[in-house]
Every structure is written in structure tokens, then in C-alpha cells.
């Protein structure tokens, strides 16, 4: 392993951008999992990837295209009241089809499409870091306000309707935040790397956390730990980053899954 490479200034911006994203995406993933919408993240990631390539085809930055693609999907999902696997399945198919068609029909699209699939974080620059800082700022600002309302809507779903409250505002707010998070994650870490950060740490935290605050902290910390391990391994062993991150997430999730039992098996009488 080449240890000197970690001191290379070239990798500082990608490292910082990825670190912020790795702390935020698992927290969004925990809320998506509580809403039983984790598959939406894969749909949004495909739309973000397609948006990035379509944006490049018309001369827009990849981050802008990715954000518009995912935000469009998130807004349509929220305002159209789309819920459940069918809607997310269509998002995946639309995104995948648009991604590969854009890759096949644009100059350098094939290589960029492959980069999005592989998750080459080392190409991340100031734009990605700025987007990651914006995402973190939005999450830190919005989640404390959205979280109580989202939890209440999840466990007491009639409450908002019964009290004539504009629930669509906080559902749309969270959907757009999740879409932006997935877009920034996809453009920086790659499609499946971002999805792994949404899904696996939240899944593992759901198995072992003793309460909701613990769930959020554990998910975020596991995301950061998996990211750090993947960064070291991918850079040191010259491996593509996205698959390395996904593999580390899976190993972490598998370990926690093996050491814990599902909660349903421990219910009281």
C-alpha cells in the first residue's frame, strides 16, 4: 500500500466533500427507512445520475444536472402523492434508461456515465465541496424542524388531516432535502455508493439502536466510519471508490446483522 498518497493535496477536496456527505446521507436514510421509502433513494440516485449526464450534454455542470434530476423526481413524488415500490420502480427505470441513452449519445458521455457508476470521488472539486457544505447546512437547519412533524405523521397519520394542518409542506420539504442529498451523493460518490450510504447504516442502526436519537447518531457514525475505511482502501489499493464504499458498507452491515437479532424476535408477551 502506498501511504504517501494520503498526503497528496489533490485528494483533500474530494475527502472533505465525501466526509460531509457520508455523515448526512445515513441520517436521511434513517428517516427514509422509517417512512418505508428507502427504495426511493435508489430511484432518486438514478434520476440524479441521468440528470448529471443530460446536464453535461447541454453544457451545464454535472452537479446542477444531478440536483435538478433528483429534485424533479422528489417534487413529482411528493406533490403527486406517489408512495410505494411501484412509483420508485418507475423512477429507477426512467433514470436508468435516460442515463444510458445519454451516455451513449453524448460526447464523453460513455466515460462520464461509467464514472458515475464507478463513483470516482477523486474528480470531486470545489463544486462538490460547496454542494456538500450546502447539503450539511440544509440538513442541520431543516431536520430539527422537520423531524418531529415527520415522526408524528408516521405514527399518528390522521393527526395532520384531523387538525387541517398543511402536512404537504413538511413532506415536500423532506422529499426535496432527500432528493438533494442523493443528488449530491450520486454526483460525488457514485450512484450505488450514495445508495449504500442511505440504506446500509440506517438498516444496521435500526437493528441495534436503543432509541431514535441513538439511531440517528449510529447511522451517521457508521456512514462516516465506512467512508473513511473505503477512502483508505480504495486509494491505497487503487480501487474504484464506489464499489469499495459499497463493499465496506455491506461488510459493516453484515457484521452488525450477524451479531444482532431482529427486534421482532424479542417482543415481550
Amino acid at each position: 500500500m502506498n501511504w504517501e498518497i494520503y498526503a497528496d493535496p489533490l485528494f483533500r477536496l474530494p475527502f472533505a466533500a465525501g466526509l460531509l456527505i457520508a455523515g448526512v446521507l445515513p441520517v436521511l436514510g434513517a428517516l427514509l427507512m422509517l417512512r418505508e421509502e428507502w427504495l426511493a433513494a435508489l430511484g432518486l440516485a438514478h434520476l440524479a445520475a441521468a440528470g448529471a449526464l443530460l446536464g453535461l450534454a447541454v453544457g451545464a455542470p454535472a452537479m446542477l444536472g444531478a440536483s435538478l434530476g433528483a429534485l424533479g423526481g422528489g417534487a413529482v413524488k411528493s406533490l403527486g402523492g406517489a408512495r410505494g415500490n411501484t412509483a420508485y420502480g418507475f423512477m429507477i427505470l426512467i433514470g436508468w434508461s435516460a442515463l444510458l441513452l445519454a451516455a451513449a449519445n453524448t460526447s464523453a458521455g460513455d466515460a462520464l456515465g461509467q464514472a458515475v457508476m464507478d463513483g470516482q470521488i477523486y474528480f470531486a472539486g470545489w463544486t462538490e465541496l460547496a454542494a456538500a457544505v450546502l447539503l450539511t447546512g440544509l440538513a442541520v437547519t431543516a431536520l430539527p424542524r422537520l423531524m418531529p412533524r415527520l415522526l408524528r405523521a408516521r405514527f399518528f397519520p390522521r393527526h395532520d388531516t384531523a387538525n387541517r394542518l398543511p402536512a404537504w409542506r413538511w413532506h415536500l420539504g423532506f422529499d426535496l432535502l432527500a432528493a438533494f442529498g442523493v443528488a449530491v451523493g450520486t454526483a460525488t460518490l457514485g450512484l450505488l455508493g450514495a445508495f449504500a450510504l442511505v440504506l446500509v447504516p440506517a438498516w444496521a442502526a435500526f437493528r441495534i439502536a436503543p432509541g431514535w436519537a441513538w439511531t440517528l447518531w449510529l447511522a451517521g457514525l457508521m456512514g462516516v466510519a465506512a467512508y473513511l475505511a473505503a477512502f483508505v482502501l480504495a486509494l491505497g489499493l487503487d480501487q474504484p471508490f464506489g464499489p469499495a464504499l459499497t463493499a465496506v458498507c455491506l461488510a459493516l452491515g453484515g457484521l452488525i446483522g450477524a451479531l444482532s437479532r431482529p427486534a421482532q424476535g424479542r417482543r415481550g408477551a
Binding site: M33, L34, E36, P148, L151, R152, R154, F155, F156, P157, R158, H159, T161, A162, N163, R164, A205, F206, R207, A209, P210, G211, W212, A213, W214, T215, P262, A263, Q264, R266, R267, G268, A269
Partner: protein
């Protein structure tokens, strides 16, 4: 509704006919005052839950009208509490979701479950915790749909104890509208019981 706000009903139903694609229940007229624990009894299919849904804006009103006191706050606990395969929230987290004041732990053995994950509670324990979340908050009108479902006699006694607790704050106005097909339970805990005939 006008006049003395303390004496005015929290909710008044006038000849309400409600349903979904077609009318299911009604015409019904009644009013609920602060302090009431009103039981709504009827056989399966008599439209009890539909009437609660109509009060909670979740069913269509075909005729008649429902008048609410100004700024009335409702808490609607459905027949089946939301139960997910994995719920990494504690009982305390659930009460926080429902804005229950921290100085109001539930009475009796329910307080022992506050620090346990919801998915480690039995169905009855979880259901009672949801009922307490409804009763212990600041809602003025609490709608409870079949809260005795799946409860053994011991948990039914605990439910009666929860219903007997005063509102969160001394000055709070609170009424409960409780739907059940268990007539004896309603007679024992409610201040009034209304009967819904199947063709009402």
C-alpha cells in the same frame, strides 16, 4: 358557536350523513362538551369509524354539518396503531412525537415501558401507550377508535385508568369520543353512551 367559550360545545353534529363513495352512517346529531367521555356503540358495520373519520376530515359528509369550537385541536388514535417491522423508538420517543409534556408519565405499569423500543412491546402495551399519547397531550378532543381491541382484561382495566386521568394542564378543556363494540366497557368508563343503529 358563540357565547361563553367554556360552556360552548367543543363539537356539534347536526344531522350528519357521512361515508366515502356512498353514505355509510347518519343522520346523526349530538354535541360534545369539555369534560365529556362520550361512548359510541354499535355493531360491526354500523359506521362508528366512519363517523370518527368524518369528524377528522377523513370521510365525506353528504349532508348535515359538523361544527367545531374555534381552533379546536384533535388527536385521532386509529383502530390499528401504526406498527412497523422495526421501530427503533422508545415509548418516551413516541410520547415526544405526540407532544406529551415530559412531566406526565403514564400511570400504572405503562411507565415501565417508556425506555423500551416500541417493537419490543406487546400489541396491548403499544396500543395503550398510543392511547396515553392521545390523552396526555394538549388536544381538546380525543378520538379513540376501538381502543379495547386486542386487550386482555388486565389491559382493559389499565385503559380505564388512563381514561380517568385528568387533562395535561388543570385549565385544559378536554373531551373524549370513544368508539367501541364493547357495550359493557363503554358503560363503565363513559359519561354518556350513544348507540348507532345499523340503519342510522
Amino acid at each position: 358557536m358563540s357565547g361563553n367559550p367554556a360552556a360552548a360545545p367543543l363539537l356539534r353534529l347536526e344531522q350528519v350523513v357521512a361515508g366515502y363513495a356512498a353514505p355509510v352512517v347518519g343522520p346523526i346529531s349530538c354535541s360534545i362538551q369539555a369534560g365529556d367521555v362520550l361512548g359510541l356503540w354499535g355493531t360491526n358495520g354500523s359506521g362508528k369509524s366512519t363517523l370518527l373519520n368524518a369528524i377528522a376530515n377523513a370521510a365525506r359528509i353528504f349532508s348535515g354539518r359538523i361544527e367545531r369550537a374555534p381552533n379546536l385541536t384533535l388527536f385521532y388514535q386509529e383502530q390499528r396503531p401504526v406498527r412497523l417491522p422495526a421501530m427503533p423508538l422508545t415509548g418516551r420517543d413516541l410520547l415526544r412525537c405526540a407532544a406529551v409534556p415530559t412531566h406526565r408519565p403514564p400511570p400504572g405499569p405503562l411507565s415501565q415501558h417508556l425506555d423500551r423500543r416500541l417493537d419490543r412491546l406487546s400489541g396491548g402495551q403499544y396500543q395503550l401507550l398510543c392511547v396515553w399519547a392521545a390523552l396526555a397531550g394538549s388536544a381538546e378532543l380525543v378520538l379513540l377508535d376501538e381502543p379495547t381491541n386486542n386487550l386482555d382484561p388486565e389491559h382493559e382495566r389499565l385503559l380505564a385508568l388512563l381514561l380517568a386521568q385528568p387533562p395535561a394542564y388543570r385549565d385544559d378543556r378536554r373531551a373524549v369520543l370513544l368508539v367501541s363494540h364493547e357495550r359493557a366497557f363503554l358503560e363503565s368508563v363513559c359519561s354518556r353512551v350513544l348507540e348507532l343503529a345499523p340503519d342510522a
